[in-house]
């Protein structure tokens, strides 16, 4: 079933444009990201150089605050493939996602995806946190003709565990 859904997303039907960013180097897409219920948000921009992950959104230097935007602006990797993410302060993340629904529309595609993510591997120098049980439910409206995301709603949750600094070995006598 999952494979069928993925194929449905990747192979356009009824002459609909595929779900793919169409962003020339000379254009900038600007969004406002707000926490639900709050009036003021922050600016998020996408340029072509931010489409690093095989033509999908992947800016450099990710922070934890970028995770909602990242999941909203890209499709989950196909099937069992996993996305590796280097996030500042955090032990590298491994994320996988599932596409649940696609509304076949020539103008816009509604994509519902569920992501799960967690810290994987050993902590490197500078990592202060480990993420566990991360989930993100995303409902994105993608403008097929224009080739960009119109809007998204993101529910994100994760457990953040602080890494205790390793105690150095004490000096042994003389």
């Amino acid at each position: 079933m999952r494979t069928l859904l993925l194929l449905a997303l990747l192979i356009p039907v009824a002459r609909a444009e595929p779900v793919a960013w169409k962003l020339p180097a000379t254009e900038l897409v600007r969004y406002e990201l707000r926490e639900a219920g709050k009036q003021k948000g922050r600016i998020v921009t996408v340029q072509r150089h931010d489409l690093r992950g095989g033509g999908q959104y992947l800016p450099v230097s990710l922070a934890r605050s970028d995770l909602p935007v990242l999941f909203a602006l890209r499709l989950p990797p196909p099937d069992t493939a996993k996305l590796e993410l280097a996030v500042r302060d955090v032990v590298p993340l491994r994320a996988k996602g599932l596409l649940e629904l696609r509304t076949p529309d020539e103008e816009a595609a509604e994509i519902v995806a569920t992501w799960s993510f967690f810290s994987h591997g050993r902590e490197e120098k500078g990592c202060r946190f480990r993420i566990r049980d991360g989930t993100a439910g995303v409902r994105t409206v993608f403008d097929r003709k224009q080739g960009h995301v119109r809007s998204a709603r993101i529910d994100i949750a994760y457990m953040l565990r602080k890494i205790e600094p390793r105690k150095g070995r004490g000096r042994s006598g003389s």
Binding site: E35, A36, T45, S151, I156
Partner: protein, 370 residues
């Protein structure tokens, strides 16, 4: 669980007919706001403990944006700067940069030969600048490497770092443009310092640069796409320090050339170091954030660093990325209604100054003829 909403505001070109008009309007609003922040005595509310430095940065910005030296706000600010002898590297350097900018004749061609630069400072002010330049050179931890400040005894409290070093280099370049002598060893030391803070492990890469005056890009194969670290103790590079490395090396090359002390081998070495920096920036290109900074801070500082690197090395585009238009588009989107780039009191002067200096392309290009 947190819930977020992402809404499209607009999709717009970073290159459009009226962009320069919008940039000019943004500069005018920013300048008006910045002038309004001056205090009664001509100073600006210090950023941290940088009393003279903050005022000097505001003066540098206002003069670079075309406010004349005779303007009451600039006059009062310059008097404030001249009346003090700062001890911190940043402050000495920015004071020199501000004074040089203030005494730059309006309409001076960027193509002027180094020997033709005229800065008509009164004698007492010239002596003040010579003193600042001498103090900068004297207090270097090693020739071409600076830290925040010397102890009264002359011993440094921290390691030299690329940020202080970059500003000292800019300050000494401003001094040289005022015909104040700077030692050859200092410029040679700058090259040595940035070789030390360069990333040790870096991949091979190809970087394509479009230079000023050129239409077609030139492809360069680079042996190491190595960025520049904040200091030798830091494990990796980030964007502002890499830009700082490129700018400082370009200045060292320019100044050694003026002194006829640039052997071809050294010129080639500097060229490789600079291209490695561009290749690093190309790999980690970001205009919406300060790439790879450990805390993601100092975004506006980064943009101004990139402006200096690009202008001093004469780079118009990196691959298909037009640094100026992309940065300007980001800044136009981020300017507040007040004309500032941050409404919070703590950092609004520095952020507004860095944004304006970027938009104004305030750095004087390298002059390669004596």
């Amino acid at each position: 669980m947190k819930r977020y909403e992402l809404e499209l505001e607009e999709r717009g070109p970073v290159l459009y007919k009226g962009l320069q008009r919008d940039i000019n309007a943004a500069i005018d609003r920013g300048v008006k706001h910045l002038k309004g922040l001056a205090q009664e005595d001509g100073s600006y509310k210090p950023h941290g403990k940088y009393d003279v430095g903050t005022t000097a940065l505001a003066m540098l910005t206002l003069c670079a944006c075309g406010v004349p030296r005779t303007d009451p706000v600039v006059e009062a600010g310059l008097n404030y700067v001249f009346a003090r002898s700062p001890r911190k590297t940043y402050e000495r350097a920015v004071a020199l940069m501000a004074i040089e900018q203030a005494y730059t004749p309006p309409g001076e061609s960027h193509r002027s030969r180094a020997a033709e630069l005229r800065r008509d400072l009164p004698d007492n002010r010239r002596r003040h600048c010579a003193g600042l330049a001498a103090a900068l050179e004297r207090d270097a931890i090693a020739p071409g490497a600076w830290a925040y400040q010397a102890h009264p005894g002359g011993r440094y409290i921290v390691h030299p770092d690329s940020s202080n070093t970059q500003y000292a280099v800019l300050g000494l370049r401003a001094a040289a443009r005022m015909d104040i002598p700077v030692k050859v060893q200092t410029w040679e030391g700058v090259v040595r310092y940035f070789e030390q803070v360069r990333e040790r492990k870096a991949p091979r890469a190809t970087v394509s640069l479009v230079r000023e005056g050129a239409v077609q890009p030139t492809e360069h194969r680079v042996r190491a796409a190595a960025g520049y670290r904040y200091s030798t103790t830091r494990p990796h590079a980030w964007a502002s320090m890499t830009s700082a490395g490129i700018a400082s090396l370009a200045i060292a090359r320019e100044q050694l050339l003026h002194k006829r002390m640039l052997p071809p081998k050294l010129a080639t070495r500097i060229g490789h170091l600079i291209l490695g920096g561009w290749a690093w920036l190309d790999r980690h290109w970001a205009m919406d954030r300060h790439a790879l900074h450990p805390h993601g801070q100092w975004y506006y500082y980064y943009l101004y660093s990139l402006e200096r690197a690009a202008i001093l090395d004469g780079v118009k585009r990196v691959g298909d990325k037009d640094w100026y238009r992309e940065g300007a588009a980001q800044l136009l989107a981020r300017q507040k209604e007040s004309g500032s780039w941050d409404d919070k009191e703590k950092e609004q002067i520095t952020k507004t100054c860095f944004a304006l200096l970027f938009l104004r392309r305030a750095t004087a290009p390298v002059v390669l003829t004596r």
